[in-house]
């Protein structure tokens, strides 16, 4: 448990000293979303209709973009090897790494989303639903994505492979989250969607670190 905290501290410290890696996915997210009104035209009804999909797809791709780096440097400099040698279970280290990944990508994406929602004429109730969907959904993306990242870290150019491995797992989250935002826009009750996202989150917190630890062991032992 203390290792979990130590890992988060370490990750945040590294990110603080190298902010470029932190800003990349965020810039990508903002750029993609802000290009849509320019490309499609500023009709509020049209933009409002596509807003949930656009914002969620952009958030998903931004997360995917950052996942390749999740274990890359640790693999290259031998830290990952040392992590598998730890007396503490690898699980805590993985959870610490994934949690810090979410703190540095998913959370900022979610916090930025109301601003982008404004740009796409989202209604206040839609914006609220969007914020909640991203807060619940992005940790699932980080957790599931870490499985792909751990399996491909030993390969050069694993970027596309992560996408192929992980995107099918992302699809249910995307469908659920966008329909939650749609319901929010129409002023409906989206508690059911939130509960389902919560179920997926609980499932992936329980299962994904196990798979990721196994993936790391496989990658390190070759």
């Amino acid at each position: 448990m203390s290792l979990f905290v130590a890992t988060i501290r370490r990750e945040l410290l590294i990110a603080y000293r190298n902010p470029a890696d932190l800003l990349n996915p965020l810039c990508f997210f903002v750029i993609v979303v802000s290009l849509f009104p320019l490309g499609i035209g500023p009709t509020p009804s049209m933009l409002q209709q596509i807003a949930p999909g656009v914002i969620w797809v952009a958030a998903l791709l931004a997360t995917l973009l950052s996942l390749e780096l999740l274990f890359r440097t640790d693999y290259d400099d031998g830290s990952l090897e040392q992590m598998t040698f730890s007396d503490a279970p690898l699980l805590w280290l993985v959870l610490g790494k994934v949690f810090s990944h979410w703190l540095m990508t998913g959370l900022p994406l979610a916090l930025l989303s109301p601003l982008l929602g404004l740009m796409l004429f989202l209604t206040p109730s839609g914006t609220e639903a969007l914020l909640w969907s991203l807060l619940l959904g992005t940790p699932i993306l980080s957790l599931l994505g870490s499985i792909g990242a751990s399996l491909t870290v030993g390969l050069r150019k694993g970027g596309l492979l992560i996408a192929i491995l992980i995107l099918p797992l992302f699809v249910p989250v995307l469908i659920l989250a966008t329909s939650m935002v749609q319901t929010g826009i129409q002023g409906g009750d989206y508690t059911g969607h939130m509960l389902w996202l919560g179920v997926l989150l609980a499932l992936s917190v329980g299962m994904a670190p196990l798979a990721t630890s196994a993936g790391i062991r496989i990658s390190v032992s070759h």
Partner: protein
């Protein structure tokens, strides 16, 4: 403490070693020698449990996890020497305080470098940060992959003294080195390949 029985490892359709059996007891040093590509690192990784594509058996009789210092230093460029060592040591042993960490850094000749980022250090100094774990942690067995590379002569002498102390207290030491460990006794040597 370590029993290896009929170990065979094939890599890229080539036998690195076949039917390798040996025992390393408490208070013994085993030096693994061999040319480049003879399979030294692979053997070490097998002993450390990092490589599993082999037949035969490797069994350790230890109360704590062996300390493995691999080829790569495991040191982050963006963290200072103290931060790196604290985290690395924390993987094995919880609750090590700053003073102890600084003491270990001083032992490897890095006094005054505690807060320097490892990215600004030389190769040898980065290696020393990793080697400082030998002064910090209690482990019965050490598995070291070329600990002397990039280390200056004075550093080698100090490291050999530390190894001797480890063996004298009944530890097990398995080391890859191209250098003859003149000052450490008793020593056994395993030569791989021709």
């Amino acid at each position: 403490m370590l029993t290896v029985n009929q170990l065979t490892c094939e890599r890229d359709h080539r036998y690195l070693f076949e039917d390798l059996s040996f025992v390393v007891g408490a208070g013994e040093l085993l030096q693994i020698e061999g040319g480049n590509g003879a399979g030294k690192t692979t053997l070490l990784r097998i002993l450390g449990g990092l490589y599993t594509d082999f037949s035969g058996s490797v069994s350790w009789d230890l109360t704590s996890q062996p300390l493995y210092l691999g080829h790569k230093p495991g040191v982050k460029d963006l963290l200072s020497a103290r931060e790196n060592l604290t985290w690395l040591a924390g993987l094995q042993q919880a609750g090590i305080d700053v003073a102890t960490v600084d003491q270990a850094l001083a032992e490897v000749g890095l006094r005054g470098y505690e807060e320097v980022l490892c990215g600004a250090m030389s190769e040898g100094q980065r290696k020393r940060v990793n080697l400082a774990r030998l002064y910090l942690l209690q482990a019965q067995a050490w598995i070291l992959d070329e600990p002397f590379s990039a280390i200056d002569r004075q550093g080698v002498e100090r490291l050999e003294a530390r190894m001797q102390a480890h063996i004298d207290t009944g530890g097990v030491l398995i080391v890859i080195s191209h250098q003859t460990l003149s000052r450490v006794t008793p020593m056994r040597c395993l030569r791989l390949g021709g």
